[in-house]
Amino acid sequence: MESLNKMKRGKPFRSPKTTPILPPELWSHIFEFLGSEDLYPVTKTCVEWNELLEDNKNAFLLPVVLPSVMKYVKKNTILKFRTISSLTRNAVDKTLQSFSDSDDEDPFDRHCSHYEESSSKRYLRSVASSISCSYMFTLSDFGYLLDKVYPDLSVASSDVNPFLVRYISYFSDFRLGNDPHVLNILPKFGHHLLTLNCFIVGDSSTQPFHNIVAQLRLVPNIKRLWIRPQLWPRTPTDDELDLTGLSTTVYEFPALPKLVILDVRLVNSNVLLDTVVLAMLRHYSKQLICFTCDAKLFLLQELNVDVLNLMFPNVKKFHLLGKGSDFATGLEKLSNVSWPLERLHLEVHDGDQINPQNVISTISNFHENLEHLKVDCLLLPKQLEANNCNENEAEEKVVRKMSKLKIVRAKANILDSNLFCKFLKDNCPHLEELYIETSDILCRERGRWALDNLRNLEKVVLGSLKSLPVNFHTMRRPVPNETL
């Protein structure tokens, strides 16, 4: 034992006054059983223990400092840290996975919460996402990556996880058939995956969907499933889809007990929504905590409010996006469902303006649990708003107080809506943070209005995520009587 050797060299170790008092060599023996996280606090407990551990301090300090140091090194060096010891490898993997593209359970954080994120966090996020991109299974450009390691994988044990951040992207391309690598790798290693990101490439067939459904049984432990038609050359219209066999297909969905996040945002063909997506939801919707879809899904007659309630008893985060013209029905249904939503994100991707009254009734339907709201659409301007109000006065809904709403993110335009401002002022007493997406971050007027009128507001962040580096300005309430 190192400590005993030292004692022989004539430098006596002392023991701290513990009850009972143990000799240093016994402490030294005890410490051998502790891991990095536990040993570091021991060195700070007292001078005696710090001296006792001096010799192998580096071994347990390195994994603890790695998350800090990683921000200063290049990707290949970060990967090199993994090969030093199993402790450093675990430290790196833990850090990278926390920054992985999948963003834990929150698909929308990626897009909206990083105004104030430090440069180092952004850097690690980019490293994690570049690593995720390495796991891109396609026969075209990225195939060589797989060829590089495939010979080794074919002899590796299936207990080995070859997916660094437990995430793969997979292209299902009807023109090329199934990627043979995927068919070889998924059966053996698929159980290690937590995230499956399927791109559907194809312009006239529903075959890729069948393939994906068929392959779900190979990834029994996934938490997140993203299915996105590749936008290139473009998403097929319903007329162009080859529907041969679609109506008679009976899908066999495997049990995916850990699946809680489903993102089908780019599936906006009525036919696919009505068949594959609906079949999928019938199978998995009850377990979903996080769901993202196109507003077109709500146009399906079958999905009335009662069905929606039965389908999504657990959904806490919901992201609705699509064309403005499809939104009205979606908002109408949403304002009557009883979902336990904590986060809501409404995103209109064309320039269509939405009636603020509809948005407000939808939001206020979730008044009990909603904490975080993002409104990514333009609201009707004031003049039109007034007209609309008069028309709708008869059926004006009761707007309830939001009991938990703390964070709102929105386009600057929403603060031009009198109705929305009134809603924030009168019905959101707990609002603490307001993020305004604007290209003109020096336009403080809106921020000042918010700080003057919203009682509990702590800060307003004016920013634009479109520019890089991310440009933002934070306004806070001046602290009264601040002493210097």
Binding site: K57, S68, S85, V160
Partner: protein, 169 residues
């Protein structure tokens, strides 16, 4: 001059000016919290840092003292990564300050700078550790950090395999 007592995990007390202490984000918050909770505005704040021992705390305060007139670095100064900052901030004094330290102390300083939110110190210490790793072989790194590989069986080979997948050519 307003003072503050900063106490290390092993009980050593350092008396420093509040102006100096406030260059640490953490101490600044602590001083403000103390102010709010104290009736007497003249009272001298006392802050116990349970995670940092005296030897390390002394070094942090010494570094702060030397750099007390530097402009405070905002957390997100650089666009993509924090790598540029360190070179900018590193003076001859910093190099002499770090030169005699062994890696263990440097790593403890990283944790302390991280905890106390002292960006400039975090930059130079991380940069130092980085320089011991970049461009070296795994065995050289193990020697420099006095580390032994604790991989079992073929774990090390497997880790290299995983890496190979992600390393750019």
């Amino acid at each position: 001059m307003a003072l503050v007592r900063v106490i290390s995990s092993d009980g050593a007390a350092f008396l420093v000016s509040q102006r100096l202490a406030k260059r640490s984000g953490k101490l600044k918050t602590e001083i403000e919290t103390f102010r709010k909770s104290s009736d007497n505005s003249e009272a001298q704040p006392e802050i116990r840092i349970v995670t940092i021992r005296a030897e390390i705390l002394r070094l942090v305060l010494q570094w702060l003292q030397q750099h007390q007139n530097d402009p405070v670095l905002p957390a997100n100064q650089n666009e993509q990564d924090g790598r540029g900052d360190a070179e900018m901030g590193q003076s001859q004094w910093d190099r002499d300050f770090l030169a005699p330290m062994d890696l263990g102390i440097v790593m403890e300083l990283i944790l302390a700078a991280n905890h106390l939110e002292v960006k400039g110190l975090l930059d130079i210490t991380c940069k130092l550790v980085e320089s011991k790793i970049t461009g070296r072989t795994v065995d050289e790194i193990r020697t420099a950090f006095k580390l032994k590989s604790d991989f079992k069986g073929n774990e090390e080979e497997q880790t290299r395999l995983e890496n190979r997948w992600c390393v750019e050519n």
